[in-house]
């Protein structure tokens, strides 16, 4: 049985790292972007702790997935909402679990359809080391090797908890 970390302490540690990271790079006006659904919860938590006055948006990457040919659209698609100008903005892109990297590729493609950000910093709660694309988080809560056939899922929004499930596909 894989031991899953507690979300609370991870978030605290990520918030500290992110604050340092932004300071080092002299980024004073970032905008947060959470990827639906788990990424939005993590983004909201970090946003509160790191830069509550910064704007915050959400992305649903359903229209940019690379597996439409295999799976089609998911049943529920939410509108993406970026209530700020992306051009020239330093973005903090947040997701819950980094697995293959395909979600992040889709999210980057979608972000660039809004404009040309000055930079994109990737923040994820977990990296489960199943990378299929050259995508790594700049700020990471924890790394975790999962046994084959298992997936980790974030449930929330309160409390935020990690649970282990059998993979469905």
């Amino acid at each position: 049985m894989t031991a899953l970390p507690e979300v609370g302490p991870l978030l605290q540690q990520m918030a500290d790292q992110l604050s340092r990271y932004l300071k080092e790079r002299q980024i004073e006006d970032p905008a947060f972007v959470g990827i639906h659904t788990g990424g939005v919860w993590i983004a909201e938590a970090l946003h509160q702790q790191v830069a509550p006055e910064a704007p915050m948006g959400t992305l649903d990457i359903a229209f940019y997935r690379d597996d439409f040919e295999q799976h089609g659209l998911p049943q529920r698609v939410r509108p993406s909402e970026l209530p700020f100008t992306v051009d020239g903005r330093h973005l903090i892109l947040v997701d819950d679990v980094l697995m293959t990297g395909r979600t992040i590729r889709a999210a980057l493609n979608e972000l660039f359809d809004y404009g040309r950000p000055a930079s994109v910093t990737l923040v994820t709660l977990l990296d489960i080391e199943a990378r299929q694309l050259p995508v790594r988080a700049d700020i990471l809560g924890a790394s975790l090797a999962l046994p084959p056939g298992q997936r980790v899922k974030l449930t929330g929004p309160s409390p935020l908890q990690l649970t282990l499930n059998a993979a469905t596909n």
């Binding site: 649903d60 359903a62 229209f63 940019y64 439409f68 040919e69 295999q70 799976h71 089609g72 659209l73 049943q75 529920r76 698609v77 939410r78 509108p79 993406s80 909402e81 992306v86 493609n109 979608e110 660039f112 359809d113 809004y114 404009g115």
Partner: protein, 331 residues
């Protein structure tokens, strides 16, 4: 071979694979379609109004009947989904319907289209094509005779939902030439399915179809009675080209009795929405001041139409994809 449209248009998992009619579709499916359209509406507000969903797919607009708005919004919808688009305007020839359609279809299939968007003057044309098309090819009805215009109905529903919210609390009036209107039929079905408790149909007796009662609507012959306290007024175009003699005394008479003017609109709720599928006949069914007035959402309907058509196309492609995989697994 013949299946009823509502079975033909769903795959074995109940997902949309053709979109031929509102009839027989569930409230859940219509709501899912509206939710998806909401997300596509947001895409239309971005710097780059395009998503890669249907990249590499070919959508064929096959129009046997003229239409500017419907064809261009379907074309724009397909392009915003990154599909390649072919537009074919085919004037209906004197050959019998079956032969013409079937020959055309075979030609189009040879071009390896993934989706046909069909507008035809005969009721049942899109259904006819959907029954005969290769597996994997989706057929979208862009209006067939006086039968159905389901994407128009769904863009009307999106308009109502975005501007008035919950269907369960609304009174909606559909006014004018119901007899020739596929929009009216599809709208009545959609409103009913979405739980609208008070659907009113307002028309002279001569412009009402037989069996109007089956739609569960209230029929009014007097505009001034029917419009009282409604939340939404959907005006229909007087289809002059389809009008046989005797149905209508004169356009002037029609306007006097059934035209939506500032005076008649005042009978509805103060903020009632004014809708029209277009093209509008100013001074025939609607007064210019009302069409261009603050309560009118006629141009919004056009914008919403693009998002609804994007949703229909991507959901139909999803249904086709799932069906193909189910078939492969079964073999």
């Amino acid at each position: 071979m013949s299946q009823t449209p509502h079975h033909l248009q769903l795959n074995h998992q109940g997902q949309l694979r053709h979109f031929l009619t509102i009839e027989g579709l569930s409230r859940e499916l219509l709501t899912e379609l509206l939710d998806t359209a909401d997300s596509f509406l947001e895409v239309g507000e971005r710097a780059v109004k395009k998503v890669p969903l249907l990249r590499g797919k070919t959508v064929c607009n096959v129009f046997f009947e003229n239409s500017t708005r419907t064809r261009t919004t379907f074309e724009l919808a397909a392009k915003r989904l990154s599909a390649d688009v072919l537009n074919l305007n085919i004037s209906t020839s004197s050959t019998s319907k079956g032969e013409t359609l079937y020959d055309t279809l075979q030609n189009l299939e040879a071009m390896a289209a993934d989706m046909f968007v069909v507008r035809h003057g005969d009721s049942g044309a899109a259904h006819f094509i959907a029954e005969r098309v290769c597996p994997d090819v989706a057929v979208i009805n862009a209006g067939d005779g006086n039968h159905a215009h389901p994407t128009q109905a769904m863009l009307d529903m999106l308009t109502i939902r975005r501007h008035r919210g919950d269907f369960e609390k609304l009174s909606v009036a559909i006014v004018g030439d119901i007899l020739h209107s596929r929009v009216a039929r599809s709208n009545m079905q959609a409103l009913k399915t979405l739980g609208c408790p008070d659907i009113r149909v307002i028309a002279p007796r001569t412009l009402l179809p037989e069996g109007i009662d089956q739609y569960g609507v209230r029929v009014f012959n007097d505009l001034r009675v029917g419009l009282r306290d409604v939340d939404v007024v959907i005006m229909l175009r007087l289809q002059k080209e389809r009008m046989q003699s005797g149905l209508l005394p004169s356009e002037g008479e029609f306007y006097k009795l059934y035209g939506l003017t500032r005076e008649t609109l005042a009978l509805a709720k103060p903020d009632a929405l004014v809708m029209h599928p277009g093209p509008i006949n100013r001074g025939v069914e609607i007064e210019s001041e009302v069409a261009d007035g603050p309560q009118s959402v006629i141009l919004k309907q056009v914008t919403y139409g693009i998002a609804v058509r994007m949703a229909v196309m991507s959901m139909a492609m999803t249904g086709q994809t799932t069906q193909r995989q189910l078939t492969q697994e079964a073999n």
